[in-house]
Subunit: 288 residues, 2 copies
């Protein structure tokens, strides 16, 4: 099976698990608002990474599925809150009206809060031996030194031209944190040792940086039809991007270097890492 | 030591632990916005309940302190998001401008998200044997079948006259969930058995209902100087309250009956429950 087929298999598993979440006890309107954004397509890369990492370290995919759902819920919550009028003020996301446009701002805030809370509820219901460690990694990644640090820097530095190190910090927080945690969580759920978790961090952070740089490059040079959205928006809106900081040519080299580092990190005997390494390569050459 | 002195002792411990939280890795502005609302006074009843419950069941207060901080962070986050223009649109909280008035709406949303995430980060760093169960209870209480269910019903039913059962549902979610979870969490951290946890639920839910009914009554009949806020706002704004539903006289009887149920629930040999029982009585007769 090639990387695309395997990814598609993982994605189907994640989609089915998300679709089946009962959100027991949630009022109908809240459930509707949460599901609207959670089941809005997307690559499910974060969820797939939990499954792939767990399998690579010899674990059971059934232990990993709740965590795959959790990281997708955390990702969905962050997008709902990001799109709010007082944040990025976006009205469209993947071709559909954003959550607050459909449900109103108050419900959109609650839907985001609900998805974040439910992510922890689902993880905390898991009784696999590595579950507490995995949950802890997710909390850190979603938290004030991870994703929220990136979002805060992004907001407070808007309209400035930060240097390369600061852009790196923003990307590490906004994007890489939530691509690193699923890898470490997947390893932890399989009972991996400290060295393997550390390798997962190097892999995830470099994959995350490359993923964001490629995203920025696609907005500059991508195919609008394939991407399914208007391109060139980053430049137009003065967004903080890697190519804007170092130039497109250097950005391409940097992304490739990150992917090399990511792949190298997983060359350890404890892992069956072929898929994760191919996935890193695939991420570099994606066109959408 | 009487109940007031003991409560004040617990409160000081909670305050000091909150004050000492490092929020490591958080950008300055985010940390400032979180601390602004977290360290804004308040009774710290939720945090004190974790400590009291843990001690009542024979546990160590040092295991309970991270959870006391966590429940206060969850409470603070819920108030920040509740006060937002698209929710209750409040500009003052305990005599100080609300978070979004000081830091702007975007940062206030992030500060709330940060406090919720950090609550889980702090709980997940705790390695006491009952920690995972305690965290799970907190997640459920803060989640879509708990506090967020209450808030959703409150928003979607605004301006209507719901029946007694619906008001009970709203109060159970908005108030009682986050008074019940600290009790169960405190018991769990002390290694209490299932029966004791079940007793904690009956105690917490009834304490929570009574607490909210008394809150509603104080808004009707309290002393504005003691309360430190304008009273009569609930009626003026057509808020959903217990006295509005059943009348003030019946509401007083209902609150007293809840407190009797709460106290009775803790009459089990496994617990040193004198303080928790006196606290319930104290809650009924509070004047602020």
């Amino acid at each position: 099976m090639n990387v695309k087929q395997q990814l598609s298999l993982y994605k189907t598993m994640v989609e089915q698990a998300l679709e089946a979440l009962p959100f027991e006890g949630a009022p109908d309107r809240l459930k509707e608002a949460m599901r609207y954004s959670l089941l809005n397509g997307g690559k499910r890369l974060r969820g797939c990474l939990v499954l792939a990492a767990c399998e690579a370290a010899g674990g059971n995919i059934s232990d990993a599925l709740p965590f795959a759902c959790a990281v997708e819920m955390i990702h969905a919550y962050s997008l709902i809150h990001d799109d709010l009028p007082s944040m990025d003020n976006d009205t469209l996301r993947r071709g559909k009206p954003t959550n607050h446009i459909v449900f109103g701002e108050g419900m959109a805030i609650l839907a985001g809060d609900g998805l974040l809370s439910h992510a922890f509820e689902v993880m905390a219901a898991c009784r696999a031996p590595g579950a507490f460690t995995a949950l802890s990694m997710m909390a850190k990644a979603a938290g004030v030194s991870g994703m929220l640090a990136g979002q805060t820097l992004d907001i407070t530095l808007e309209g400035t031209q930060p240097d390369r190190d600061t852009v790196r910090q923003i990307h590490l927080g906004k994007t890489a944190a939530l691509l690193t945690a699923p890898v470490i969580a997947g390893f932890a759920l399989a009972g991996a040792d400290e060295d393997t978790l550390a390798a997962g961090r190097v892999y995830g952070e470099n994959l995350g940086l490359a993923f964001q740089i490629v995203d920025d490059l696609l907005d500059l040079e991508g195919d609008a039809a394939l991407m399914g959205k208007t391109l060139g928006k980053d430049v137009q809106e003065g967004k903080i991007t890697w190519p804007a900081c170092v130039g497109a040519q250097q950005a391409k080299q940097d992304a490739a270097a990150c992917i090399e580092k990511a792949k190298a990190a997983l060359n350890i005997p404890a892992l069956h890492s072929a898929f994760l390494q191919e996935l890193a390569e695939y991420t570099l050459h994606r066109v959408q």
